[in-house]
Amino acid sequence: MSLTKDEVQHVAMLARLELSDKEVEKYTTQLNDILGYAQRLQALDTANVPPTAHVFPLQNVMRDDRVDPSMAREKIVANAPDEEDGFFRVPKIV
C-alpha cells in the first residue's frame, strides 16, 4: 500500500492546509515511510487480540450529573479573534 500525491492533497484539504507542489512531494515520501514502517505490524498474527480502544487500562471514568459554575463570558471571549455582543464573530456561513 502506498499513498499517492492526490491522497496527500486530499488529506491536506480536509485539514485546511495549503501545500506547494514541493511540499506535496516531500510529505508523500515521508508519509509513505511512516506507513511502510507501520506496515511491518501487519505481519503479526492478531486474530486473538482484541482491538485496542484505549492505551490506558482504565474504564468507566464518570462524574455525577451536577451543575458547576460556567466561566465568565469576558474571559470566554477574551481570546476570540473577533467578538460582537458576547458572540464569537466568524466569517459568514450559509
Binding site: 464518570m62 451543575v67 463570558r73
Partner: protein
C-alpha cells in the same frame, strides 16, 4: 405482493425507501463532559467553560446520567446494550464546533439492533432500529449584518448548546411511505416521552429529525441513490419536506436523470429542499477513538438496574385500557399517545375509585362506565380547552381529582349534563372544584317533583295554542314545552322529570 403494496404501486410509479436519523437532547442537568448547565435559552456564551470550548489541556469526564438515559432509550427501543462501548472523534470544520471535532460514537455504539412497531391505516409494521449512540451537541450560529442568513455578511457563534448530551437514533431503511415516516416519528417521540430521557420539544430543538430518502422502480432490489434531508423542525415540516423531495426525485428519474448523493436542507418559507453540499467530501470524517475518554464496560447488573426504571410502554398501556376498561382502541390510542395524558387518565381513575393495576384485571360495569366518562371528558371538552390554551395535560387547570368531582356530581344527579358543560368551562378558567362553582352559582339540578310540576303547569297555562297543537298530534310541540321548562329553571330542572311530568299533565288536560 401484498394488497397494500399493489395499491401503492398503482398510485405512484416508484417505491419510496426511507430511513430516519433522530437526534434527541437528553434531559440532564449538566452537559455530557462538563458541569455547565444544559438549560435552554441563556444569554449567549454564558453556559460555557474550557472543557466544552475545547481549550488546550482540559480533560472531559463523562456524565453518568447520560449513559443511564442512553441505555434506557435503547432498552425502550428493544435494542441490545453493548457490553463494551467507546467514544470517537468525528472531525470536521464548522464554526458551530469549537473543537473542530465532535465527540460521538462510531463503531461501538451503546445500543444496536432494536425495533419500533408502528401502525398505518390499521396495518402494523415493524421498523428496525440500527443503532442508538451518544454524542455532544454543537453550538448555534446566527446571521449578522443582514435580515436573513443568505444575505449575512458574517456569522455569530453561541456555544451554550455545545456539549449538551444527545442520542442519535438511526432507523433501518424500512420506511416505505411518508405516512410511515410520520407514524415512526410520532411513535418514537411518544416512547421517549414515556422514558423521560428528554422533553422532546421539537420547537426548542430537543428533538430533531433528518431523513434519508431514495426512490427505486417497483420490483428493483438495489436501493436508489439517496439524499439526506435536514432541518425539519416539526411533524408538518417533515411531511411537507418528504412530499417535496419524493416528487423532486421522481421528476428527475422520470426524465431519465440521475439523483445526486447530497445533503439537502428543508426551507420552510420557500417550501422546498435546497442542496447544501455534495456528500462524498463532507463525509470524510476521519473518525478515531477519543483518547481523552476511556471505554465504557457495561455489566448485566447495570443494564438490569436501568431496565427496572422503564415505565409501562404506550402499547402495553393502551392494551390495559382496552382490556380493563373496555375503552375503544382508538380512544385508548389517543390517551396513551402522550404520557402526560395517560397519567392524567390513570390519576382520574384512581380518584374515581376505578384504578386497575398494570394490565390484568377487568373492571366491573360500573367501573367501566366511570372510566368511559373520564375518557369522554378528556377526549372532548378537556382536550379542546387545553389546545386553545397554553396548558397541557401535565399542568391542566382542571386536575384529575377536580374532573372526577364534576363526574361525581353528574353521577349523583346533582347537576345536569348541560350544566356540567358550563361548570367545566368555569373550572378550567378558575381552577376551582366543581362543587364550589355549583354552590356559588346555585346550579344544583332541580329534582323536586312538586316544584317542577308547578312550573310545568304554569307553562301549559301560558301556552294554550301550543297545547292545542300537541293535542292535534304535533309532536314538535312537546319539544317547545320542554324547552320552556328548562328556560324557566335556567337549565337546572332534571330533564327526565320535566318530560315525565309534562306528559302526565298533558294527559290530564
Amino acid at each position: 405482493m401484498s394488497n397494500e403494496t399493489m395499491q401503492m404501486e398503482r398510485d405512484f410509479d416508484f417505491e419510496i425507501v426511507m430511513g430516519l436519523e433522530v437526534h434527541v437532547e437528553l434531559h440532564t442537568k449538566s452537559k455530557i463532559f462538563c458541569g455547565c448547565t444544559t438549560e435552554f435559552g441563556g444569554d449567549q456564551n454564558t453556559h460555557v467553560c474550557p472543557v466544552c470550548l475545547g481549550l488546550p489541556g482540559v480533560l472531559p469526564v463523562l456524565n453518568k446520567q447520560v449513559v443511564d438515559y442512553a441505555m434506557k432509550a435503547g432498552l425502550a427501543l428493544n435494542c441490545e446494550i453493548a457490553e463494551f462501548s467507546k467514544f470517537d472523534r468525528k472531525n470536521y470544520f464548522y464554526p458551530d464546533l469549537p473543537k473542530a471535532y465532535q465527540v460521538s460514537q462510531y463503531d461501538l455504539p451503546i445500543a444496536k439492533d432494536g425495533y419500533l412497531d408502528i401502525e398505518v391505516g390499521g396495518n402494523p409494521k415493524r421498523i428496525g432500529i440500527t443503532r442508538v449512540h451518544m454524542e455532544e451537541d454543537a453550538g448555534k450560529l446566527v446571521h449578522g449584518g443582514a435580515a436573513n442568513l443568505a444575505g449575512a455578511e458574517y456569522s455569530l457563534a453561541d456555544y451554550n448548546r455545545t456539549g449538551v448530551p444527545l442520542i442519535e437514533i438511526v432507523s433501518e431503511p424500512d420506511i416505505r411511505s411518508i405516512e410511515e415516516a410520520v407514524a415512526y416519528l410520532e411513535r418514537l417521540k411518544s416512547i421517549l416521552e414515556y422514558t423521560e430521557v428528554s422533553d422532546c420539544k421539537m420547537e426548542q430543538g430537543s428533538l430533531r429529525c433528518d431523513a434519508n430518502v431514495s426512490l427505486r422502480p417497483w420490483g428493483q432490489k438495489e436501493f436508489g441513490t439517496k439524499a439526506e434531508l435536514k432541518n425539519m423542525n416539526s411533524f408538518k415540516a417533515l411531511q411537507r419536506a418528504l412530499e417535496y423531495e419524493v416528487e423532486r426525485q421522481a421528476e428527475i428519474l422520470r426524465e431519465g436523470g440521475k439523483i445526486l448523493q447530497e445533503t439537502r436542507m428543508w426551507d420552510e418559507a420557500k417550501g422546498m429542499t435546497i442542496s447544501l453540499r455534495s456528500k462524498e467530501e463532507a463525509h470524510d470524517y476521519r473518525y478515531f477513538p477519543e483518547p481523552d475518554l476511556v471505554p465504557l464496560v457495561i455489566s448485566r447488573e447495570w443494564v438490569d438496574r436501568v431496565k427496572a426504571t422503564l415505565p409501562e410502554m404506550p402499547h402495553i398501556r393502551k392494551e390495559r385500557l382496552v382490556h380493563s376498561y373496555g375503552l375503544p382502541a382508538y380512544d385508548a390510542g389517543i390517551i396513551t399517545g402522550s404520557k402526560a395524558m395517560a397519567d392524567y387518565f390513570d390519576s382520574a381513575c384512581k380518584a374515581f375509585g376505578v384504578d386497575t393495576p398494570a394490565g390484568v384485571e377487568v373492571a366491573d360495569d360500573k367501573a367501566k362506565e366511570r372510566a368511559k366518562q373520564i375518557s369522554n371528558y378528556m377526549m372532548g371538552e378537556l382536550t379542546r380547552l387545553l389546545n386553545a390554551s397554553e396548558f397541557g395535560y401535565s399542568n391542566s387547570p382542571v386536575t384529575p381529582e377536580n374532573l372526577v368531582g364534576l363526574l361525581q356530581l353528574l353521577e349523583a344527579g346533582t347537576i345536569s349534563t348541560k350544566i356540567a358543560k358550563t361548570v367545566f368551562e368555569d373550572m378550567f378558567a378558575s381552577g376551582k372544584p366543581a362543587k364550589a362553582i355549583v354552590e356559588e352559582k346555585g346550579l344544583v339540578q332541580i329534582s323536586d317533583e312538586g316544584a317542577i310540576a308547578s312550573i310545568v303547569r304554569d307553562i301549559l297555562t301560558a301556552n294554550p295554542s301550543v297545547v292545542a297543537d300537541f293535542k292535534a298530534g304535533k309532536e314538535k310541540a312537546m319539544g317547545f314545552l320542554v324547552g320552556q321548562a328548562m328556560k324557566a329553571t335556567k337549565g337546572k330542572a332534571n330533564p327526565g322529570l320535566v318530560n315525565k311530568l309534562l306528559k302526565e299533565e298533558l294527559e290530564k288536560m
